[in-house]
Symmetry: C2
């Protein structure tokens, strides 16, 4: 069965208020998997046969808005294509002096804002607390851990390779990293890495890592459920240890997280993230796959953990 298909279409004409953008980079994100199911959720299911949509960075080649001129670099939601039409109202300017273009799909894009609001507003970390992050070397997790460090926390990350763990501890300042593909006893690893228990758990993954972390929750612990990538391809409802009985003694709070709930404050977050990136306080990394035709593989690679940091696809330019 062929799930993805590359098709030729005419370059579209922008209408009033629209920009024709030459796509330079496009983003592949785990949440897109949910849109491939025919189920009600926060993002509408995609139509079979329609172009994939998602965040892009590109160059305006034709503008029918006063806000942007041809040649401007912008980011917004477009299609997986060489050229994409975007509403001028819905895009943001890109400043390549702060960071290279791919960063605008990661640390300076939706993943960075997800980390920012999810950690600070749902996780609410206090100095001296222990923050555990799953998917820690991903686009969201890597930012979560660094902001937690800025807030004076002990930070422990789960990631899927020694190279990723080294990046966390050597470059991002994590206090400890656990390679979940090499360690069998996650609880034992946490005893060592989080000896005072877990105050905040930022979960991108689910599965056995999450099962282990839930046995270590401290009183008043907060769990931000950002993603559950281990389960996105499950055909049946996944089962596992029941977690509600584990919440009573610690009075722990577990909350689902969608970054769109914080949309009114995206501007402030982007400004703060941009300042940290420009100053070097917030490190970031992007994994780049070349060629629009390879976007499906880049997307699928998210589920086997191919990416370190943010996974993007270069469509044109350097």
């Amino acid at each position: 069965m062929r799930s993805f298909d590359l098709r030729e279409r005419d370059v579209p004409e922008p209408r009033y208020g629209e920009l024709l953008v030459k796509v330079r980079y496009l983003s592949v994100d785990p949440y897109m998997r949910g849109r491939m199911d025919d189920a009600d959720s926060y993002a509408e299911p995609w139509e079979v046969g329609a172009a994939m949509e998602g965040a892009i960075v590109g160059e305006v080649v034709e503008s029918r808005s006063d806000a942007y001129d041809a040649g401007d670099l912008v980011t917004g939601n477009g299609t997986w294509a060489n050229y994409s039409l975007l509403d001028a109202d819905s895009v943001s300017p890109v400043d390549p002096s702060i960071a290279d273009l791919p960063a605008y799909l990661g640390v300076l894009g939706m993943p960075g804002r997800t980390a920012y609001f999810g950690l600070l507003e749902v996780g609410e970390p206090d100095p001296g607390e222990t923050v555990v992050v799953s998917g820690a070397a991903g686009a969201v997790g890597s930012v979560v851990g660094q902001i937690a460090k800025m807030n004076g926390c002990r930070v422990v990350g789960f990631a899927g390779s020694d190279e990723k763990v080294e990046w966390l501890t050597d470059d991002l300042g994590f206090d400890a990293g656990i390679n979940y593909k090499r360690v069998d006893d996650y609880r034992g690893a946490l005893d060592e890495a989080a000896p005072d228990g877990v105050d905040v758990y930022f979960d991108n993954v689910g599965g056995p890592i999450t099962d282990a972390v839930f046995t270590k929750l401290n009183v008043d612990a907060r769990v931000a459920v950002c993603g559950q990538i281990a389960h996105y391809n499950d055909e049946e409802v996944p089962t596992g240890p029941r977690k509600l009985p584990q919440l009573i003694a610690p009075r722990a709070k577990v909350q689902g997280l969608l970054v769109s709930d914080f949309a009114t404050r995206f501007g402030k977050a982007s400004e703060q993230l941009g300042t940290w990136v420009a100053s070097g306080d917030l490190a970031h990394r992007e994994s780049v796959v070349d060629g629009l035709e390879n976007a499906p593989d880049a997307f699928l690679g998210l589920f086997s953990g191919d990416n370190i940091g943010k996974q993007v696809v270069r469509v044109s330019g350097r």
Copy 2:
């Protein structure tokens, strides 16, 4: 194996600041099951051989405190015994003109306060919202549902007999009740009883009822995890459908609840609950087992749902 034993001891002598109380009623509560395991939790494990402890109502027979005289009725934490020593600082007066003594172990005791704070502070129900309660005919659940009704909510309760369900809908004003021992399809039953989905779930039970409710959570739903009685006697860590993936789209919040966290405001809650009981706005019911020697059976009966409303044991008096 014999788990409970009745032993004769000398009536103890109160020391300065203590009251010798003739126990009239004692409380059996599901949380006591946790204290029978040798595991760290919010309540210390009981020592084998020591007297069972819990809430009692009784009459002061000897006072070494200026705050109470012989003949006063009080409630506090004592032992499962004919006579119990209590610190005068830790007891509350009982006013039999507001309600009969057993009510001070239920609606006017810890269960009532648990319902009050759990619903209002964790569940945070708004008028027009749908509140679902499991264990709805129990000491906590029956109060939760009535306070939710006072707050203008649609209220649906799960209970384990037709008699219980009738009590909920005919006497307590619940909008719908589901006898989970007669219905197989809990989701289908919820489609009918909670057609607009679930905004607040007050969970006393866990298990398949909870599994069904989690599939119906609305955006911004709140779940107060008060008890998980279905799992207290599990020998192994119980498994079930994973719930974290279900929290993301609705951004639902799930929080463990211990009433002791609200201790500084117990006075205000008790006053409010007393006012509602005195005015008849808050109905209550107690199931009474006679005789100290039958306290173990009364306790075990909680796990088969023998009680309607609050289960108490009459130790002496009427």
